[in-house]
Symmetry: C2
């Protein structure tokens, strides 16, 4: 058989679950992992331990792979260009992936293609943040001193253009004084208006090199302390036209940016009913974990199919409601007895553990529940996640 | 975390799919495989290559495993007893597993607990086969010469008591002359009446050490040339009382034999409406592959949960009908383009490939389809399996 080999860079849980999805597809999987203990390295047969920031390591890893794809966005763009120049299929390619790597590039591109975003611009220092706040508030720079009292466009969201995730690299500042910290890393800083949003949504699509694309139902994503806590599929009460609009937006972004593989478009639904793009991720994404048990084809299986340019699988849901809740580490390092309890309590619960050591606040797994009654489905997911973390003890 | 390590003996597709099911459970998996190319060895991180017939190899493999379980029934019973004496949890244990290893022991036990089986006995030579045929026909040995013309209980089914699978080690003979071959291996031979069955069913259950058990819906299993071709879940038109009776039978066998893990009870539904036990298998089984996409909890996940004495998952179906069709190798060794075609034709198709080289007639994968319309669900599965094999070309 001439079944191809997928090389995945990064040994986190996304690689772990992509490997899991690749097994039934008969796809051989090769992993470049930071350590032999990484989440995916525990379950993949062919693991290369090495540094994804080193081009020679990447080149050696790519030999024997039919295609390269990624668990994270941190591989330097210039290395991806070098690999492409070597003739290695890199999916998504560097010209697409840079939009998920660099928030400045992403915002510029989305502006250029007319995709609605929060107002934003690159800022140079804390004083410039205050100028941006004034601009956003509708008061120009000529209206006097920069308002630091929250009346003039503050709070403002500041993001380093590269390297952030899960709330890291993101600050909400209420004054130019509070805006000092983000500039300390020496990385360009993007300022964005703090959007008055009703909730967060995600429109996830998968796109293949020959241009086939599938759109998953738009989901609601609930964040706690900047970390995804719960995802509800589909987003409850979302107007069908608005849902279709969000899917079309994601499909258009995928096409305009030349994305191959899974694209997660994180969205704000504003209190006045607009849809704005918050973030992009070009890999399987936390907002798509529900698809493992709730969709005909999971995001992981479709990502594998896309990077190999295989026909994509049906993205439609299998249940009326599916809820995903992340399992964060609590104070107690041994989750096994809690895990056993959750299985006994709810025989329909779908648990997904990542094989990671428990540290407080660290994502170590997630649970999926599905059914017809949203309140009950949510309660089951929340209970299991809370019990595994140790915040619920009954 | 103190998540346990499951050691699986045998590197076939059942181990491959058990590993796949263990990944979301966070269970570490160790494999004893004949070769590094075996189906499961291609996808498991920790593989020991060695001979399962060698006790020292088994003992070395068992170190570092919290429990041992099996891809096949071929590990010598005395080795399993030695491992148990060493303190290794062996699941299923040798006193249960011997009933799946030795058809003579199995029949004697099922007789003892009153489970209906085809009439049978151990036979010593071809003449004894003819005597058995006469007994089965209701004509005693005193009624004259043994009838070799099919009128006196022939055809008879002969099985070597150990080592058979997928039609190997099984003969249907029409005369004492035809009965010579089975005796050549020097293994005891079991004779069974050839049951006049309407169809074959399978009742699959999973049982854990503390005695919890779950029963999957009874399925219909369609064999072609002694090899499983199609499984339909649930068995169409099966009387609900008959289905419950078959599930109870399987649960009782599991309990009486002390089975831990998955137990497949292959059944005959006779033309006069009786249910007889054909074979037992104490591992995930081909008749349960439909559960991967058609049940809330797959047989593989429940097997892992059972051998670890974790609470079992819900065995109920997720769809009205699920159909599994085995993919056998055809004449053409490269299946990849056919695989691509099948994905394009049916985006809801669930393909499960085993990573095996294609040989004519070899099981190299299976497909699952599900939906509300049985005829359509069957057609989709049959088409994909036939196209992959090369027997359908449109």
């Amino acid at each position: 058989m001439t079944f191809p080999v997928v090389g995945m860079v990064g040994g986190g849980q996304l690689a772990r679950m992509t490997h899991e999805a690749g097994i039934p597809l008969g796809i051989k999987f090769k992993l470049l992992s930071d350590t032999p203990q990484d989440s995916a390295a525990q379950v993949v047969s062919e693991v290369v331990v090495g540094d994804y920031r080193d081009l020679d390591t990447l080149r050696a890893f790519a030999r024997g792979c039919d295609v390269l794809t990624f668990d994270h966005e941190h591989v330097p763009t210039e290395h991806l260009r070098a690999l492409e120049a070597d003739g290695v299929p890199v999916r998504p390619g560097p010209e697409a992936l840079v939009h998920a790597q660099d928030k400045g590039v992403m915002r510029a591109k989305l502006d250029a293609i007319g995709v609605p975003c929060p107002r934003h611009r690159i800022v140079s220092d804390p004083e410039d943040v205050a100028r941006f706040a004034a601009e956003v508030s509708g008061r120009g720079a000529d209206e006097g001193r920069w308002p630091d009292d929250g009346s003039g466009g503050f709070p403002v969201v500041l993001k380093t253009v590269r390297g952030g995730y899960d709330g890291k690299g993101v600050w909400v500042v209420r004054s130019s004084k509070e805006a000092e910290e983000p500039f300390r890393a020496g990385v360009p800083v993007l300022a964005e208006e703090k959007v008055d949003f009703a909730r967060e949504l995600a429109a996830n699509i998968v796109r293949s090199p020959h241009g086939q694309a599938v759109a998953y139902p738009v989901v609601e994503s609930i964040q706690v302390n900047g970390v995804c806590d719960t995802v509800i599929a589909p987003a409850p009460g979302l107007d069908p036209e608005q849902a279709a609009h969000a899917q079309e937006l994601a499909l258009r972004i995928g096409q305009e940016l030349g994305v191959v593989g899974h694209l997660a478009v994180e969205l704000f639904e504003t209190t006045d009913g607009r849809i704005l793009v918050n973030e992009l991720a070009m890999r399987p994404h936390n907002s798509g974990h529900w698809t493992q048990d709730g969709a005909i084809t999971s995001q992981f299986a479709n990502h594998v199919r896309a990077v190999l340019d295989l026909p994509l699988g049906d993205p439609r849901p299998r249940a009326r409601w599916t809820v995903m809740a992340n399992v964060l580490g609590g104070d107690y390092p041994d989750m096994y007895s809690a895990y056993l309890h959750c299985m006994a309590r709810d025989p329909q619960l779908k648990i997904h553990m990542y094989g990671k050591d428990v540290k407080p606040g660290r994502k170590v797994g997630h649970v999926n529940t599905y059914g017809d009654d949203l309140a009950e489905v949510r309660e089951r997911a929340a209970h299991a996640a809370g019990y595994l973390r140790g915040t619920i003890t009954e």
